[in-house]
């Protein structure tokens, strides 16, 4: 059984009196021990999806099953036992840590909130987690500003892990970091996954990172999943024109390789003005009349790959 099963999830915001759907009918699963990547351009709804799954923003439709419980309708106190099972690592380790709290307080507070009253046990958990993320214990008495970006991200990871969760939503965890530090953090996340049997929902705009780090990938466009597949089929055989364009846009390290022409026209439209039919058709190089009339459904192919395109 899947650890997480999201069914037909919707998230909507109200802006200037208009309702817009940032996430519009998304279904997927994350199995125990699996890393699922979520890629797309800024504004496609990937962060909204991550936050909705964790119930940090309310959903407006659909189900979020963690184990066998649908947590979408739960509120307040009823959610607390589920919160400790899923945590989040944020993009910006400068903005996501309270500058007025020491590392010890940052790690101790979640334990207190979740009812671990024994101070000795809290201390031992904190020490264990510091060792796991590769921070010295002397760091506990210090404040976030005293650390470099990479170390701060380690603190963010320690805080996410302190409650021994099963699922971690990583929202662009390495995109604010330098290349050499990025490798350190990705290696750490791989080690932690192996040691602790974690599952990740890994949100990123960086195709190379997703290619390396995930088992299965969801490609998101304007609130919908347009393609999904295992990491190797998606790169070797992308079917949706949007996925193809995303992959073609990554600059190649092969210096002899001719740059491929840019296939995508224009930019991601606002979620307030969703085109009729296929949402991608205005930028699509192969769009035809059918695409304006009818929205393509997400079809599942025999190899498990899913795609939402009339012509793929």
């Amino acid at each position: 059984m899947s650890l997480l099963a999201v069914e037909n999830l919707e998230t909507s915001y109200t802006s200037h009196g208009r309702r817009l759907k940032a996430v519009d009918g998304v279904s997927f699963t994350v199995a125990k021990g699996e890393t699922v990547g979520l890629v797309g351009e800024s504004g496609c709804g990937k962060s909204s999806l991550g936050k909705t799954v964790l119930r940090l923003v309310p959903s407006s439709g659909g189900a979020i099953r963690l184990g066998d419980t649908d947590i979408a309708p739960l509120d307040g106190r009823a959610l607390i036992p589920f919160r400790r099972r899923m945590q989040m690592i944020f993009q910006d380790p400068f903005a996501s840590l309270n500058p007025r709290q020491t590392v010890r307080t940052l790690l101790d507070t979640p334990l207190k909130v979740h009812g671990i009253t024994d101070a000795v046990e809290r201390e031992s958990r904190i020490n264990t987690i510091m060792d796991k993320v590769g921070l010295p214990r002397t760091a506990l008495a210090r404040y976030p500003h005293e650390f470099s970006g990479g170390q701060r991200q380690r603190i963010g990871i320690a805080r996410a892990l302190i409650l021994a969760p099963e699922l971690i939503v990583c929202d662009e965890p390495v995109s604010a970091l330098d290349v050499s530090i990025q490798a350190q953090i990705l290696n750490l996340l791989v080690d932690l996954k192996r040691d602790l049997g974690l599952s990740y929902l890994f949100i990123s705009h960086d195709m190379s990172v997703v290619r390396y780090f995930t088992d299965r990938v969801l490609v998101m466009y304007l609130g919908r999943i347009v393609e999904s597949g295992s990491y190797d089929t998606l790169w070797s055989n992308p079917l949706h024109p949007y996925t193809k364009a995303l992959i073609a846009a990554v600059p190649s390290y092969d210096i002899d390789k001719k740059r491929t022409a840019v296939a995508l026209k224009g930019e991601l439209p606002s979620a307030a003005q969703i085109p009729s039919g296929c949402r991608f058709r205005l930028r699509c190089p192969i769009a035809q009349d059918t695409c304006a009339a009818q929205e393509p459904a997400l079809r599942t192919l025999p190899n498990g790959q899913q795609v939402a395109c009339h012509f793929a």
Binding site: G150, Q184, D232, A245, V250, S252, Y253
Partner: protein
């Protein structure tokens, strides 16, 4: 008062016919911090030089020093010569005539570089009226041409838009139009695509490259992204903690990076094609952080370097010619047993 140097013909040493920018022993110091520690490089007319390095390595300080746009309190030493003009000694008036006319600058975040209360058209036209002495009507017509050149749809209508009316990609195009308005000889692009989506990144870089060819500009491309370097640069200078550690043709660098830092940077960079997967391959890490360079008397990279010897910690190594490039690493350039052993193990 002498006449502005910009009006004088390029007076120069014999070999400098093709040389546009020559930077020698440039140091940039902020109060309490030496950001650039004596670097030298040059750019020829029409070529693209990439300055690569991680945050804090001094690449942006270098670009601001070349434009003489460093904040008050910062000090520069060394020589920066642009087409025969000494930029370090140049007075404010000479600099004003150069900036925006013969040297353009594009920054990472277009929202903070554009004036939010002026229309984007007026911001571009201002440049043209100031430097090209165009009338308002002429400047407007030329601006519309420029907006068209950077592929902004419906340019005549967009002239009267404010920056907040535009998306990030469009704003970066406005910045480019502004920077190339007076056909500069040198365009400095400081992380021009870092704030943009990957789909826009290649489009904006392709645009910069085609403008470079059309207008015969030289491009100083400052970036941390090696993929960008591989695709768009002719030559590369790799910076680490205020020093240039390797200067090479882009081809040579990607074939075979020589300096241990260049190797580490390449090794820890993820690639889309031919890249590994976490289940089978661990990423190469560069251990430690840049902060270790702070009080290092010898090679800045030595505290993080697998090849470092005791000699490396004594004095900073100079750049030396090696296999058609320049490398600041005595261990690599004069192969000892140790370097051979490690190289063989790679």
């Amino acid at each position: 008062m002498t006449a502005p140097a910009s009006s004088a013909p390029a007076r120069s040493e014999p070999h400098a016919g093709n040389r546009l920018l020559d930077v020698r022993d440039l140091c940039v110091a902020f109060p309490g911090h030496l950001a650039v520690r004596g670097i030298s490089f040059h750019i020829d007319r029409g070529e693209t030089l990439a300055l690569v390095g991680e945050s804090g390595c001094g690449k942006s300080a270098t670009s601001l020093a070349v434009m003489r746009l460093l904040p008050p309190g910062a000090r520069i030493a060394g020589a920066v010569t642009f087409d025969g003009i000494d930029l370090v000694q140049a007075n404010e008036r000479t600099l004003r005539d150069l900036r925006g006319k013969r040297m353009g600058l594009i920054l990472q975040e277009p929202m903070t570089s554009l004036n939010p209360v002026l229309t984007i058209g007026d911001q571009i036209a201002e440049n043209l009226m100031r430097h090209e002495k165009l009338t308002r009507a002429q400047a407007r017509a030329r601006t519309v041409e420029l907006l068209d050149l950077v592929r902004i749809p419906d340019p005549a209508r967009r002239y009267d838009d404010y920056p907040h009316n535009m998306s990030g990609g469009m704003r970066q195009r406005v910045m480019i139009a502004m920077a190339v308005a007076c056909n500069p000889q040198l365009l400095i692009a400081d992380e021009p695509t870092t704030a943009l989506d990957v789909t826009l990144q290649s489009e904006v870089l392709e645009l910069l490259d085609s403008l470079r060819r059309q207008l015969d500009m030289a491009l100083l491309l400052i970036t941390h992204d090696l993929g960008v370097v591989a695709q768009w640069a002719d030559r590369v200078a790799v910076m680490y903690a205020g020093n240039i550690v390797e200067k090479a043709g882009a081809h040579a660098l990607f074939e075979n990076p020589a300096h241990p830092y260049s190797r580490g940077l390449m090794g820890s960079t993820l690639r889309l094609e031919g890249g590994g997967h976490y289940t089978s391959q661990r990423l190469t890490e560069i251990p430690g952080t840049v902060a270790s360079a702070l009080h290092e008397p010898g090679c800045n990279f030595a505290p993080r370097c697998a090849l470092a010897t005791a000699d490396c910690r004594i004095a900073p190594p100079p750049l030396r010619p090696f296999e058609g490039r320049q490398v600041a690493c005595p261990v690599v350039t004069q192969p000892s047993k140790e370097a051979d052993r490690v190289a063989a193990g790679r």
